[in-house]
Symmetry: C2
């Protein structure tokens, strides 16, 4: 199975315990965050031999403005393809989930062209070497050059049942989630050390007033997601922060503030 | 940087300490082993919108005979592409090395067609579900079907400086290395517990008679590779088994036998 528009069989479909309009990252933001968090992907080009076949090759990339840039040799097969036909796509996939189809992935479609202009090359070079410092060893070889994917279409698949075509305008305006690099650490910390706080969030802020426990499954600048154990089984819920946050310290402050409000709400309920 | 034909900058190029014709897996065997050891890759298809662009999507696959097979929904974007144009490729990439371009990858180019015939479908289904047991949940949904990549060209890149086009005939005759799933465990065991044996291999069987130590870096049915610390720095060496081996137990017996011969050769040298 792979990317599909249908719902059947696409994993847990239980109704969430919080309103569906709880603020969450847009697909443009999710896609941009995913691509910005990775640095390897699959470049698909139009093969010269066998002519016209779509050809996938492994590439490293960096982000420069809102476009992936590549450092490739003109001797490489895909560079030869691109010089004959610039049409291409870059697939970037997350890893992490045991079920590979539960991971997110993004296909960026467009044309790959050589970066021109001395100032522009210098800027791209700095971005590329910041992401791939080991490339300093061959960046100045004469057969290597920088190329950029000029994006015209963006396909986002966030796992089962979360997929769309992202508007290029929304892509260009998106910024990577500032918590992305810290999310795994925050989740581990909350789930290991703050089970009581998570259960309080669930009881106070979701329809599951009798929640037994809750596990944090995701966090982003707009809020976080929990899997709540209820008498009827596990149910997902999303809670929003009052305002978007920018750092792990802000996240901590927001989570602490929410515990306080949750406990106040639960105490009031018990009166 | 990515797949290139050139040698410059392509990692360590020190002359090996053993003859270059020491028996090793063919590129067909290496490529087949890599593809058989994985179950996810990137399928490149010809897009319908934007029309004609090569489009990469994440897929799960299983091997059936010597071909990758896929279970896809006719609602999926790539299935719609394939129904209009069967030309495709599948890129499968290893992970593991810190330097992503040091990992192996294989591009299989060909045409993807629906598997037909009840017996053939049953056989493909069994192979697919053996690799992806979770797919049992949706395998019988009416919009899902099995497709096969009929391979016409194979590109193998084994990391820096090891790459070629593999003949389809050699691909079909290749079998996966029987040690592939055990190699990491054997390497860890040898490097943690048998440093003296590894040093003895290096001193007895390579040109590095004054080797200080050696680390095992790879093992396959035909032999193994070591990185030898010499007074001039680290040098690679490959040693072959007397005959191809089929199990981890055979590997152990072969490695023990080689230690004995190494110690005998070194004792003789000291006389």
């Amino acid at each position: 199975m792979s990317e599909t528009e249908h719902g059947r069989g696409s994993g847990p479909s239980e109704e969430p315990l919080t309103p569906p309009d709880t603020r969450a990252p847009s697909h443009a933001e999710r896609a941009f965050t995913l691509v910005a968090s990775r640095s390897v992907g699959t470049l698909a080009t139009v093969a010269k031999e066998p002519a016209g076949y779509p050809y996938g090759s492994f590439v490293t990339y960096a982000m420069h403005d809102a476009s992936p840039v590549f450092l490739v040799s003109r001797l490489a097969v895909h560079t030869q393809h691109l010089e004959a036909d610039p049409r291409a796509s870059l697939l970037v996939a997350e890893d992490g989930e045991a079920d590979p189809l539960a991971n997110g992935r993004v296909t960026l479609v467009g044309e790959v062209r050589r970066v021109g202009g001395k100032a522009e090359v210098q800027s791209v070079r700095a971005a590329y070497l910041a992401t791939h410092p080991g490339a300093a060893y061959y960046v100045d070889f004469t057969d290597f050059g920088f190329f950029r994917l000029e994006i015209s279409a963006i396909r986002y698949i966030g796992g089962y049942g979360r997929m769309s075509w992202v508007e290029p305008g929304a892509w260009r305006e998106a910024t990577p989630d500032p918590l992305a690099a810290h999310a795994a650490g925050i989740l581990a910390h909350m789930n290991e050390d703050h089970a009581a706080a998570l259960a309080a969030y669930a009881r106070a802020f979701t329809r599951a007033r009798d929640a037994e426990e809750a596990v944090m499954t995701a966090i982003d600048r707009y809020g976080f997601e929990i899997s709540v154990t209820t008498p009827d089984g596990k149910r997902p819920a999303r809670l929003a922060f009052d305002a978007p946050i920018g750092t792990p310290e802000d996240a901590r402050a927001a989570l602490v503030g929410l515990v306080k409000r949750a406990r106040e709400a639960l105490a009031e309920r018990d009166l």
